[in-house]
């Protein structure tokens, strides 16, 4: 018979065990990888110093700005487009799959499976796979971002529906409203703020990721960075990075502002 006292005692031991296990895994893996934790930490300032010297944009590097900003704008648009399309797909799939609005448990399991499949394949892998079919083009990047975003958003939207919409849903169901009336009159308006908040977050994220994908697909700002880097024009590469940072920060500020208004 499990008493509360020995339940708590066992829980305590479990926690200790888990912490020990994590510590053990760290030690084992640094041994296997010949990774020197302390040396790594000491090297960090040096790495930054190197970055600061070599990547510092000079007055000369402003000549690259027009082409950088043109590509950057394209990349931001790509990120926004893929996120918006992903959101529209994800909301309908999430409604199908959530515990409160969804179909039977088979459909729910399938939706969960699909979402975790798209989410758990790394973005880089998606881009590589899609390169075979769509070659180096903006569309490849768009599709890679879309697929991964769909995976994340389905999962997030399902949780939002389950947390925020179940009570109002019940109320409208009790009035005799039909399924679609409940979805459009209760569920969607109720979850809209959280939905938008997630979409904004995903856009910020995808701008960063689009850069990475661009290196692989040979498009956008990632491509520009890659060229400058490989041709040793480090100051121009630095300028590119700086531009990306500015855009990401501006986007973040902007979306925080939007969140404040809608929440």
């Amino acid at each position: 018979m499990q008493t509360p006292v020995n339940y708590l005692a066992r829980k305590h031991w479990k926690q200790t065990g888990i912490i020990a296990l994590i510590g053990g895994i760290y030690l084992l893996s640094s041994y296997v990888l010949k990774f020197d934790g302390l040396g790594g930490v000491i090297a960090i300032p040096k790495a930054f110093a190197w970055l600061g010297i070599n990547f510092r944009p000079t007055a000369n590097s402003t000549q690259y700005l027009p082409s950088i900003w043109q590509k950057l704008l394209g990349t931001v648009m790509l990120a926004i487009a893929s996120t918006v399309v992903a959101s529209i797909i994800a909301i309908f799939v999430a409604i199908l799959g959530s515990k409160v609005t969804g179909g039977n448990s088979i459909i729910q399991t399938i939706v969960r499976g699909i979402a975790s499949f798209f989410r758990n394949i790394p973005l880089v892998a998606w881009a590589m796979i899609l390169l075979f079919s769509f070659k180096q083009s903006d569309f490849t990047g768009f599709l890679a971002l879309l697929l991964m975003s769909v995976g994340y958003l389905i999962r997030a939207f399902m949780e939002i529906i389950e947390d925020e919409a179940s009570e109002t849903m019940l109320a409208l169901k009790a009035t005799g409203a039909s399924y679609f009336q409940v979805i459009f009159q209760a569920v969607i308006p109720q979850i809209m703020p959280s939905l938008i908040s997630w979409i904004l977050y995903m856009i910020e994220n995808n701008v960063r990721d689009a850069t990475l994908v661009g290196i692989l697909t040979g498009t956008g700002i990632g491509f520009v960075f890659d060229i400058y880097y490989k041709s040793f024009r480090f100051d121009a590469a630095g300028m590119t990075v700086l531009s990306i940072i500015i855009v990401v920060i501006v986007l973040e500020l902007l979306s925080n502002q939007i969140r404040k208004v809608i929440l």
């Binding site: 009570e167 109002t168 019940l170 109320a171 009790a174 009035t175 039909s178 679609f180 459009f184 308006p189």
Partner: protein, 251 residues
């Protein structure tokens, strides 16, 4: 008239949540259901509009059995049964009047409902009902900006616009302060008489139940312990409802 006969429900095998519930209510009656936590009050209420599928018995509304209704029939029964919730269950982002109009969805075609297209009469009626619950100036406010008592009155207006024969209230005042509680109880009592409807409310406050309800049903461990006029209900009967429970739970 509402007749409940031999209603049964268990969530898990051999652990009945309701056993043999029998009562009938005439229009114009305000019934309070009281009983300790976990007694089965919510289960009864949600069986009445089949938000919970019960296991056996009959629930007759003017002679027709809600339990055996098909999907369309169930929608038609549900639109005659309003429901008021402890947490109001409004769409907080929408305006007061939009929430009231939600009570008409059961009467609309799917498409009109999906796009929220309401007739002029429905809008006028929503305003009239808001006036009745004392919220006419709030029609265009967002529900999230209202106090708890105000939200609950929106919930009541939403159920009234259904033209209900029954209003079910699951602890309608459990989240309200004493003054708002009085307002809401008085409102429910007045509406019951004015519209000649059946109002069934789960309550934890015995005092309010005696003050406002016509009839009180006591539930314990899923069984009906008493079903009495609110005026004649004696202290001893009331005490047995809670006392025995306490001793049983300790044992």
């Amino acid at each position: 008239m509402l007749e409940v006969k031999h209603l049964e429900k268990s969530y898990q095998k051999d652990k009945p949540a309701l056993t043999d519930i029998n009562f009938s209510v005439e229009p114009g009656t305000f019934v309070a259901i009281i009983g300790p936590s976990g007694a089965g009050k919510t289960t009864i209420l949600r069986s009445l509009n089949q938000l919970i599928k019960d296991d056996g018995g009959q629930i007759l509304l003017d002679g027709g059995d809600i339990r055996t209704a098909n999907k369309t029939q169930l929608r038609h029964y549900r639109r005659q049964i309003g429901m008021v919730f402890q947490n109001y269950n409004l769409v907080e982002r929408l305006t007061v009047i939009e929430n009231v109009l939600h009570g008409r969805l059961g009467y609309k075609s799917t498409l009109a409902g999906v796009f929220g297209r309401y007739t002029e009469e429905e809008k006028q009626e929503a305003l009239t009902l808001l006036k009745k619950v004392g919220l006419e100036e709030f029609a265009l406010q967002r529900c999230s900006d209202l106090s708890g008592g105000q939200k609950q009155r929106v919930g009541i207006a939403r159920s009234l616009i259904q033209h209900p024969k029954i209003i079910l209230c699951d602890e309608p005042i459990a989240s309200l302060d004493p003054a708002s509680s009085q307002t809401v109880m008085q409102l429910l009592k007045d509406l019951t008489t004015e519209f000649n409807i059946i109002c069934i409310a789960n309550l934890h406050q015995i005092g309010l139940a005696k003050d406002y309800a016509d009839r009180i049903i006591g539930i314990r461990h899923g069984k009906m312990v008493f079903d009495e006029d609110a005026d004649t209900l004696s202290e001893e009967i009331l005490e047995t409802l809670y006392d025995q429970n306490a001793t049983e739970e300790l044992g």
